[in-house]
């Protein structure tokens, strides 16, 4: 509301052409990079043992798509990511909002969260393997723990940052606890909570790749790891490429979801 854009036709056409130029550059830069990479690999400027030509990576990708190996590994990783996000995110949401609303809950859990948050989540993997074994449990747990902290911390912050006057309105209009949660705390904190989920899923993606490299029989992390063991560098790049695509698509989807569930947010 505070910023004003002056919309006149010369400025607008200028802005449009700027945006068009940005978009063209955005598409062109990776293409140019790939072309340079391809050329450099063909004339032997770079070591193809480490940096195989994009065309050969693409060929492997097609093979792996045909065999179904790529898709099944991707689906396995996605499933773990989704379950971990739910299992870690929902309790974090409830706990975080409760901490924001109630000073006693905050007094009890704040030190616990503050003390465990700095532990590198990847360092918990051996413990997770010990407790949950080599199956799905340990992978889902790793994602859950990665999602838990940013969501819980952001939910608390989000609720604490809600303007006090809204809580006064709730009290004056006799909203009970349950209704205060649903009509004030949750929607008021939702923008900050969404940011927490975005961060959390990003961390979850890192952790799932790590978890699948150790003691797993499937998933993109496992795929990358076996590629190292069999020294098929192209397959390794295919795995990295898939993880990048997943991260990108999730970001786009979450931005869309945000626009859908937070219609009062401007822009």
């Amino acid at each position: 509301m505070s910023t004003q854009t002056i919309v006149g036709s010369p400025e607008q056409s200028f802005a449009l052409s700027m945006r068009a130029r940005e978009r063209i550059l955005g598409i062109a830069s990776p293409i140019v990079l790939l072309a340079v990479w391809e050329g450099a690999a063909r004339i032997g400027l770079i070591d193809t043992r480490f940096f195989p030509a994009p065309s050969s990576i693409f060929a492997v990708l097609i093979d792996m798509l045909r065999s179904g190996e790529l898709i099944s590994n991707t689906l396995v990783s996605l499933r773990r990511l989704a379950l971990g996000t739910l299992i870690g995110g929902l309790p974090a949401l409830v706990l975080g909002i409760a901490m924001g609303l109630n000073r006693w809950v905050r007094a009890i859990f704040d030190p616990l969260v503050a003390a465990t948050y700095p532990i590198p989540k990847s360092a918990i993997l051996p413990l997770a393997l010990l407790i949950f074994g080599l199956g799905e449990g340990s992978k889902i747990f790793m994602v859950a723990i990665g999602v838990f902290f940013p969501v819980a911390i952001n939910a608390t912050t989000g609720v604490l940052e809600i303007n006090r006057i809204y809580l006064d309105v709730g009290r004056n209009y006799k909203a009970n606890r349950w209704k205060t949660f649903w009509t004030i705390a949750l929607p008021g904190a939702l923008p900050v909570i969404m940011t927490g989920f975005k961060l959390g899923i990003g961390i979850g993606l890192i952790l799932i790749a790590i978890a699948e490299m150790i003691g797993a029989k499937s998933g993109l992390g496992y795929m990358i790891w076996t590629a190292w063991e069999t020294f098929s560098v192209e397959q390794m790049y295919v795995g990295l490429f898939m993880i990048a695509i997943i991260g990108f698509v999730i970001t786009v989807l979450l931005n869309e979801l945000e626009r859908l569930i937070i219609p009062w947010k401007r822009g």
């Binding site: 006057i165 309105v169 004056n172 006799k174 009970n176």
Partner: protein, 291 residues
């Protein structure tokens, strides 16, 4: 909890000013509120009649908002009592407040904001529809029912806040400087609108303002408060006929006299409040230089 009891029966003892008249809608006795050592309000005793449009004016920081927040149940008095006369078996809520500044929920549409109080007390859908529809129409917001607050002007937001309070159908309406943030033209329009809506049912209103003009336009009676700690300085009846036309009112000679009368009392208090502020600032300066 002694500070905010709602009693159905007339309380025993205590002075009953005019026993043949209806019980007061709000009966405040010896009300006191301190924040630590600081006394915000002191020895406030007033009776507010049912259907009265009761105005409170006072210098800033005199505790008028504190008084209203105690009435709203958002704050507890340190001592003294408030009795609010509610009808036996009535489902009406005791009070609804129109807050100072932006208080409508940014995440709800105009309609859902106005329906908030009714929904919180689980009013039937038909009742919600009828009452919200009515008050949105009365406040000229029908067309904007599906808008979100960020799409509205300041005046429209305050209209939503008023619609929300009226739609909730409380016994008492509490208003905390609802128009203070608006420009002069919008303020005038909303004052007139408020009077028109109020005229329908003549609910008891307790209205805080720092504007003497506003107090006289709207009120049946004006309580002038002293500088901190807030006490009752004077109670001034406003004998102007209703329905009132604010523009016409300004031409009436009684209007000017009333303003002058109230302002002369208020001026001393504003002056005193200012001196207190100066003293505090100097004290702070001294404290700092000593450190």
């Amino acid at each position: 909890m002694s500070a905010s009891v709602s009693t159905l029966s007339a309380p025993l003892g205590g002075p009953e000013p005019e026993p043949h008249k209806a019980r007061p809608a709000i009966r405040i006795r010896d009300l006191q509120k301190s924040f630590g050592k600081l006394a915000a309000i002191e020895r406030i005793s007033i009776d507010i009649r049912p259907g009265e449009f009761f105005m409170i004016v006072g210098p800033s920081g005199c505790g008028k908002t504190t008084l209203l927040r105690i009435l709203a149940g958002l704050e507890r008095a340190t001592s003294g009592s408030i009795e609010i006369d509610t009808q036996a078996g009535s489902e009406q809520p005791e009070n609804s407040m129109v807050f100072q500044g932006d208080s409508i929920f940014p995440w709800m549409t105009v309609w859902n904001n106005a329906a908030y109080g009714l929904r919180m007390r689980n009013a039937p859908a038909a009742v919600v529809k009828e009452r919200v529809g009515h008050y949105l129409e009365r406040t000229g917001l029908t067309r904007f029912a599906d808008y979100y607050p960020h799409q509205l002007s300041g005046g429209m937001k305050q209209r939503v806040s008023i619609a929300r309070a009226f739609a909730n159908d409380p016994e008492i309406l509490l208003m905390d400087e609802p128009f203070s943030a608006l420009d002069a033209q919008n303020k005038l329009l909303l004052q007139e609108e408020l009077l028109r809506i109020w005229d329908e049912q003549k609910k008891t209103v307790v209205f805080i303002t720092h504007s003497v003009d506003e107090a006289v336009y709207l009120g049946d009676r004006i309580m002038v408060m002293t500088a901190q700690p807030g006490r009752v300085k004077s109670l001034v009846p406003v004998p102007l006929p209703r329905p009132r036309n604010i523009i016409e009112l300004q031409k009436a000679p009684e209007f000017g006299e009333l303003i002058a009368h109230i302002w002369s009392g208020l001026r001393e208090e504003v002056q005193r409040a200012r001196e207190q502020e100066n003293d505090e600032a100097q004290q702070e300066k001294r404290d700092k230089s000593q450190q």
